[in-house]
């Protein structure tokens, strides 16, 4: 019996009767991170990292049965030990290390290698089998380091400010939005947030995590207050009447997909900034190498292409279908915590 199996309900550890990020209701769910496609509704029991717990509760209701633990802490169920390691994807995101009698599997959820200064940085784990995403598993995806990207964003904001315009920057509500708030130079001007994002910010601040000051966009603020300011909004706010009231504005989006000219131009944006919470091509390859694993299982993203590449490199790889959504070009908003 394989330590982890892919069933119609999710990634299943039969020996412990536990699922990781199940997509159908189960008795015991271990959750890698608080995005909607990884922490779903209807499970009898949830186990997550401390920093994911309040977010999951906010999304799924405070009456769910949930416990949480720290990175590297162990929980043993029927002789199988489970522990969380930082995945660097968003706040509280974790890889799940599963060990039984010396055999180690890692379900990495979503991850990135660069330390963004907000999410706990990714830690590689030696294992026998590594389960990985490959959202950006093509060699055309190579990220710049985030300092350069934030320099560009700051410059753009300043320029808009000089022209007395409102700067609207979009990124999904849980993860990207906070990374932006924390990474952008707050001395340039005032940072406002869309309601969906401010809700998430509030939860995060209540956990005692420090986050630069933001103000929720509301009807009591006069329109002129937004001139020269920055508004962080989810991509779903684009093209809505909510957005229109900020005229004159410039709109940007921060996402890994902005690497490609087609998607950049399609979304009638003024600017696209390449900033992803997923690993790029080199990142995926480095992460896999660092595990020194014997086998890789790819779950979502360019799975056919990436698995063929790994097999060609002599790394045994198979594809398993899951219900995780690769952050698509057109649905960068799916992770919206609302």
């Amino acid at each position: 019996m394989a330590l982890l199996q892919f069933t119609e309900k999710g990634i299943f550890c039969e020996r412990a009767n536990v699922y990781i990020d199940p997509w159908k209701p189960v008795d015991y769910a271990i959750i890698t991170h608080a995005h909607a496609d990884h922490s779903r509704w209807g499970n009898k029991f949830y186990l997550s990292h401390h920093l994911s717990k309040p977010i999951i509760q906010h999304r799924l209701g405070s009456d769910i049965h949930i416990e949480s633990m720290e990175y590297l802490e162990k929980r043993t169920i029927h002789g199988v030990s489970f522990s969380f390691y930082p995945a660097g994807h968003i706040i509280g995101s974790a890889q799940v290390r599963v060990e039984y009698k010396g055999e180690v599997w890692v379900a990495s959820g979503d991850y990135k290698l660069e330390d963004d200064g907000f999410a706990s940085p990714f830690e590689p784990i030696k294992c026998n089998t590594f389960i990985t995403e490959c959202t950006f598993g093509l060699p055309v995806f190579q990220w710049q380091n985030q300092k350069e990207v934030f320099d560009d964003i700051n410059k753009w904001w300043k320029k808009n400010q000089e022209e007395d315009k409102v700067t609207i920057l979009t990124g999904y509500s849980l993860g990207k939005a906070q990374r932006l708030i924390q990474g952008i130079d707050p001395s340039i001007g005032k940072i406002f947030t869309h309601g969906a994002i401010e809700k998430t910010n509030e939860i995060i601040r209540n956990m005692g995590v420090k986050l630069n000051q933001t103000t929720y966009v509301n009807s009591e603020i006069s329109k002129s207050a937004y001139r020269g300011a920055l508004i962080i909004a989810p991509p779903s706010a684009l093209g809505t009447s909510w957005q229109k009231k900020f005229q004159p504005f410039e709109v940007g989006n921060a996402s890994g997909w902005m690497k490609l000219r087609g998607p950049r131009r399609r979304r009638s944006l003024d600017r696209g900034f390449v900033l992803s919470d997923h690993a790029d091509w080199d990142g995926l390859n480095a992460a896999i190498k660092a595990t020194a694993c014997e086998k890789v299982i790819v779950t979502h993203g360019y799975t056919n292409i990436f698995s063929k590449w790994l097999n060609d490199q002599g790394i045994e790889t198979q594809i398993e279908a899951t219900a995780f959504e690769a952050e698509g070009i057109e649905n960068t908003d799916k992770n919206n915590a609302e």
Partner: protein
């Protein structure tokens, strides 16, 4: 090249016309004449000649990126642009050169010249080319690499129309926009011209082949009665061929297509017109296939388009004539500012005097009241025409697409309900989305593909179909996916003809998606028999 990179980035980053023009003016004010000329050339689709085969570029790019060829090709399918794929995949480096745009273009042209200088040493030439291209990639940063690759490979859509570029150039040079668009027409090349010669020099003698910008019509948007008094307007057929401009100057004939392509050689039958038309004549007309006093369908003309050599048998099978719409130059004088009534009167005189079976006048469709035209329009398919053209008798001949004096009034398209069978990823702005579709109709229980269509859906609908394709793929063949035959679309098209090259036996003219029939299950889509009925009626 820094200034050009900045220009490109600004153009690429905005969708606003004003900003684009401002960026162009700013660039023209800064750039030297050589760079200006090349920029104008690039933005009017006059790239330097291809110096390296793309198959070689692909192989070199893959090896520079240390990826196998199959992975390069897969990435290309997803990125949807070859130059971009090669630029993104290359290890990223700092820019470390100070060459200008025109110097990089000269670098590319020199690659081409290598062949001419050493025609026999092809292996060595290839090795040298490879070394030079690899060297260039290592000097350039990501955006510069993309631009360099674009200059070396296919067509380049920067999102700036020639109209916008001309507007910016007018602001920069102080020369009137219409004058400039005239000067920018024709057969010039940046390799052999100069900014001064092209833009500044007035009335250059070597421009005898130079055409005028075409006047293009918009589709009629209002009720026809709102055009005004019927007696102030002319109606003629909108012929379905290739819009062309016929020039006779200094005993030579030049024929231009609307795409500013010199097509004189493709239509040798017009050569005899030099004998019957006076010098200093420019006629705007339609080239159509025509035999035994009958217009033939566009598909007949199509069999000639794109052929390198026009053989005797093609000339016999697809004979052409020109139907004259308008007269732009008379006795060497530009008469575009005269009224249509005057231009037409002179045109009729010229065509009558020429008395050539290769040049016919576009006959007027007579009408007293607007409603008389309804029947005429409905009869268009009988003449293989696309509909009617309505022209104000007092109007001048304008530059480009303008509203007011000319309107096209096309017939409603033919339509058929078809099932989506295959999908392929698009290119450019639609890269990485399944936007190119093949449609099928029923033949018994089998689906027979009969048309490809790319246009007609909104962005939102495209996203929906894209998601459907990704979830309902049955099989993959390279970039093509076959999908569950579930979605039905109403396909509109302008004409239908028999074709031995298509499995269905028919070829459609300009098929596009008219409507997504979400209300229709696949089994209720049309059949091959229905298509054949249309073929018998209109083919």
């Amino acid at each position: 090249m820094k200034d050009f990179v900045q220009l490109f980035t600004q153009l690429d980053q905005t969708t606003k016309t004003l900003k684009k023009v401002a960026a162009l003016v700013d660039y023209f004010n800064k750039a030297n004449d050589k760079d200006k000329l090349w920029t104008i050339a690039i933005l009017s689709h006059r790239r330097p000649k291809r110096s390296v085969r793309t198959s070689l570029l692909r192989a070199w790019a893959a090896s520079a990126a240390n990826v196998p060829p199959w992975l390069f090709e897969e990435s290309y399918h997803i990125v949807g642009d070859l130059a971009e794929t090669m630029a993104l995949m290359h290890p990223n480096l700092e820019s470390k050169h100070d060459k200008s745009l025109s110097e990089w273009i000269e670098f590319i042209i020199d690659l081409k010249n290598l062949e001419d200088e050493h025609p026999t040493e092809s292996e060595d030439v290839l090795a040298t080319k490879k070394e030079k291209v690899r060297w260039a990639w290592n000097q350039l940063d990501e955006t510069e690499r993309f631009i360099f690759n674009k200059l070396m490979t296919g067509s380049w859509r920067v999102g700036v129309s020639q109209k916008l570029m001309t507007r910016a150039l007018a602001r920069h040079s102080g020369i009137d926009e219409n004058t400039l668009s005239h000067r920018l027409m024709g057969n010039w090349r940046a390799e052999t011209s100069s900014y001064h010669q092209l833009i500044i020099a007035t009335d250059p003698a070597d421009k005898i082949s130079q055409p005028y910008p075409f006047y293009l019509a918009y589709g009629l948007e209002i009720k026809i009665e709102e055009l005004g008094k019927p007696n102030e307007w002319l109606a003629e057929r909108k012929w379905d061929g290739i819009r062309g401009q016929l020039i006779i100057r200094e005993n030579q004939l030049f024929l231009w297509s609307r795409g500013e392509e010199l097509v004189t050689d493709k239509f040798p039958e017009f050569e005899i017109l030099t004998e019957v038309l006076p010098n200093g004549t420019v006629i705007d007309g339609e080239i159509i296939a025509y035999q035994d006093n009958q217009p033939l369908g566009f598909n007949v003309l199509q069999s000639r388009i794109g052929r390198k050599n026009v053989s005797k048998s093609i000339l016999d099978k697809a004979p052409v004539i020109m139907i004259a719409y308008d007269l732009l130059e008379l006795n060497g004088k530009d008469i575009r500012e005269s009224s249509l009534q005057y231009r037409r009167q002179e045109l009729v005189r010229l065509v009558d005097n020429a008395a050539s079976e290769k040049l016919l006048i576009s006959e007027l469709v007579e009408f007293k009241e607007w409603k008389d035209l309804l029947k005429e329009r409905a009869d268009s398919r009988k003449y293989h025409a696309e509909g009617l053209m309505l022209k104000n008798k007092s109007g001048t001949y304008k530059v480009g697409r303008k509203k007011g004096d000319w309107w096209k009034w096309k017939i409603d398209p033919l339509t058929i309900d078809a099932v989506l069978l295959y999908a392929m990823r698009g290119h450019g702005r639609r890269a990485n989305l399944y936007t190119d579709y093949t449609f099928a109709v029923w033949k018994g229980k089998e689906l027979v593909p009969f048309a490809k269509a790319y246009s007609g859906l909104t962005d939102k609908e495209i996203n929906e179909v894209d998601a459907f394709v990704k979830r309902n793929t049955i099989d993959r063949f390279g970039p093509v996916r076959s999908v569950k035959p579930d979605l039905v679309f109403e396909i509109a098209f302008e004409g239908i003809a028999r074709s031995s090259r298509h499995k269905s036996g028919v070829a459609l003219r300009f098929p596009r998606m008219f409507r997504w029939r979400k209300d229709k299950p696949a089994k209720e889509a049309n059949t091959l028999e229905d298509l054949e009925k249309l073929l018998n009626l209109y083919g």
